[in-house]
Symmetry: C2
């Protein structure tokens, strides 16, 4: 099986819903980039055992995203917030170039601040 990096995001969101053992194994695989054999050696289980544990964890992660769709929702949020930041910067630039309004600057600054905080 090839590593699908999509699982890293799913793991960030839903990882705490897995059992401790599942989470440990799948984190080694996706976040620490260990091989099946390395994880098997470290845990004293067979390579097939590791493969099965990862497969089960992956299925659960996919099932949660299918039911809850929160990774998709959050990605849309982040995309929108980046767009908002961009427009706020354009407003500041335009304002600076043509007419300096303190009020417009303050509002654009506040929009950028809020959006950046949410993007963190």
């Amino acid at each position: 099986m090839g590593k699908n990096l999509e699982f890293s995001s799913l793991l960030d969101f839903y990882g705490d819903m897995l059992t401790e053992k599942q989470r440990e194994v799948i984190k080694y695989y996706y976040n620490e980039d260990l091989s099946l054999s390395e994880i098997a050696y470290n845990h004293g289980i067979s390579r097939q055992g590791v493969r099965d544990a990862i497969k089960r964890a992956e299925e659960q992660l996919l099932d949660m995203e299918k039911k809850l769709g929160l990774v998709k929702k959050f990605r849309e949020m982040l995309k929108g917030l980046e767009e908002i930041c961009l427009e706020a910067r354009k407003i500041k630039e335009c304002n600076k170039k043509f007419i300096f309004s303190k009020d417009i600057y303050n509002c654009a600054q506040e929009i950028e601040k809020v959006a950046l905080e949410l993007l963190e």
Copy 2:
């Protein structure tokens, strides 16, 4: 037990992770505002059975929020987006009152549009 409306939000987020029966009972209770007795009558189970099913579902919803914290995260997003909308409207007003810049208007309009779409 008193109805805690917090569960309505948790149900919106995590409801699909419950079993079909749990989801049905707790939705009648929180979203349709039926009483325990009404639900018991409709399902042909005891009032105590309904109470237990709701209690278990509530525990699962709370456990998911404790582990994933997504309702809290989304609320912060929504609060920030409302703030962004407000500031974008102020920019449009200010721009209209003092100096009409088409560019500033377009950017503020786009910010408001993106934020409103995300708020939907």
